[in-house]
């Protein structure tokens, strides 16, 4: 399969890249890891006439804690996230997610920024970032702005990024002492999109009640879904079995899957219920261990 012809640009600075994007407008696409875009171009589902390759711009990758946030450069490869000791020990939800995105070969090129900016509700990071309460940093010709992840996904394959903006960084709030998360994904085979997946993040107060709860759902709607009613139910309560089961039901109600080869609507909704309960239990176990 041969993609349609395009003009290739390889800017070496952000300014150069945003100026190019501003000039080329909707005809241009940003090439990051390329692991979603290139397959779409090969199938001719996307035929941009210009590609702006940002891989040669220094300073766009790396993982560090700073200023109250885990700061992930947009060009950070999924495999770097997976291998990061900092992520493994402090951000188990992110570590879980990084291990189940596509397959190990794809993860060597695929980027965290691309996984979000692509706006695919079947991608894994969107739900995770919703659960973590992350924000993304976008840079355009007029400067930098920070976008809360809750207002980032505007539709299927649509985000609030403007055509001349580049996502440069993801910021995840640093976890409190007794907090943890988990990501559970059911996939038919390694590399497939999720039949459904659930990201859960919990912070426990000194009395064992939930101070902060985040629940994100993958591939069960036109956008990634934040299960806000389930979160609200858990907040301020001790997460016992009764509360977890009820929260899982609310998460299932929040899902809006469509039937496909991976399963029926009923099956996927029930899967969300089961995965939510399991993810909450796992997050709770991990948060308790950190006491």
């Amino acid at each position: 399969m041969i993609p349609a012809a395009f003009e290739y640009h390889a800017p070496s600075t952000i300014d150069e890249a945003t100026a190019l994007l501003a000039k080329l407008g909707e005809d241009a696409k940003i090439l990051s890891g390329g692991q979603s875009l290139i397959p779409l171009m090969k199938l001719r589902l996307a035929s941009p006439t210009h590609l702006v390759d940002i891989n040669g711009i220094p300073g766009l990758s790396g993982i560090r804690e700073d200023d109250g946030f885990l700061r992930i450069g947009a060009l950070t490869r999924e495999s770097e996230l997976e291998e990061s000791e900092l992520v493994r020990t402090r951000y188990p939800l992110l570590h879980d997610t990084s291990k189940v995105i596509a397959d190990p070969l794809v993860r060597n090129l695929a980027t965290v920024g691309g996984n979000l900016a692509h706006g695919d509700p079947a991608n894994d990071h969107p739900a995770t970032m919703l659960a973590l309460g992350a924000e993304v940093v976008a840079v355009g010709p007029k400067g930098e702005r920070r976008v809360p992840i809750t207002s980032f996904f505007t539709g299927p394959f649509e985000t609030s990024l403007k055509p001349d903006e580049i996502l440069v960084e993801i910021r995840v709030p640093m976890p409190s002492a007794r907090s943890a998360g988990a990501y559970l994904k059911l996939e038919r085979k390694v590399g497939d999109f999720a039949t459904a997946a659930v990201a859960a993040q919990l912070s426990l107060g000194g009395d064992g009640t939930c101070e902060h709860v985040g629940i994100g759902l993958t591939n069960v709607g036109l956008t990634p879904i934040k299960a806000t009613r389930a979160e609200a139910l858990l907040k301020g309560k001790t997460p016992d079995e009764t509360v977890i089961k009820r929260a899982a039901e609310l998460a299932a109600e929040a899902s809006e899957p469509s039937a496909d080869l991976r399963g029926s609507v009923e099956y996927k909704k029930d899967l969300v219920r089961v995965l939510t309960a399991r993810a909450l239990r796992k997050a709770l176990g991990r948060a308790t261990d950190r006491r």
């Binding site: 349609a4 395009f6 290139i38 397959p39 590609l51 397959d103 070969l105 794809v106 390694v190 590399g191």
Partner: protein, 157 residues
């Protein structure tokens, strides 16, 4: 667009269209046909090569993205007429039947053993989970990688 890169330690150069996929440059322009094209949809891993030491799918990269990079393809495994322990392992343990996935399996396993010289069976299965084989059921591929790991640790590489 001019692309200069290193393949198996040798400097190569070609003038290519930006839309040319890396695997097509390797096979059709540079005539390195050891790298296979399987699914052509980023699923199977038959086209796996190493770029700066990391295994990647060469059907899901443009050749222009590899400018200035160090690539290694299956042709680079054999040294001075001597097969790499992985190649010997795949022969000794019957790690292939039709052979279509083999170049990708070899390159993924090569990069994996560089980083994990004494892997468990689970770690091997995890490492090759992006490479599909429709013949073997993977059992003999895992044995072949174990064979190579043992040989390399005895100084056989």
């Amino acid at each position: 667009m001019q692309v200069r890169l290193s393949i198996n330690g040798e400097q190569r150069e070609a003038d290519v269209e930006p839309r040319l996929l890396l695997v097509h440059m390797l096979r059709d322009v540079l005539r390195l046909t050891g790298t296979h094209i399987g699914c052509d949809t980023t699923h199977c891993g038959a086209c796996t090569i190493l770029m700066d030491g990391r295994p990647v799918k060469s059907c899901t990269m443009f050749a222009v993205q590899a400018r200035g990079k160090q690539l290694m393809t299956v042709e680079g495994l054999e040294q001075n007429g001597k097969l790499h322990p992985l190649q010997e392992g795949f022969m000794a343990e019957h790690g292939l039947q039709c052979g279509y996935c083999t170049p990708g399996m070899l390159m993924t396993s090569y990069a994996f053993l560089e980083r994990h010289p004494s892997p468990s069976e689970d770690e091997i299965r995890w490492a090759i989970s992006g490479n599909l084989c429709r013949c073997t059921g993977y059992v003999n591929i895992v044995k072949a990688v174990q064979h190579a790991a043992a040989k390399i640790s005895q100084g056989g590489a």
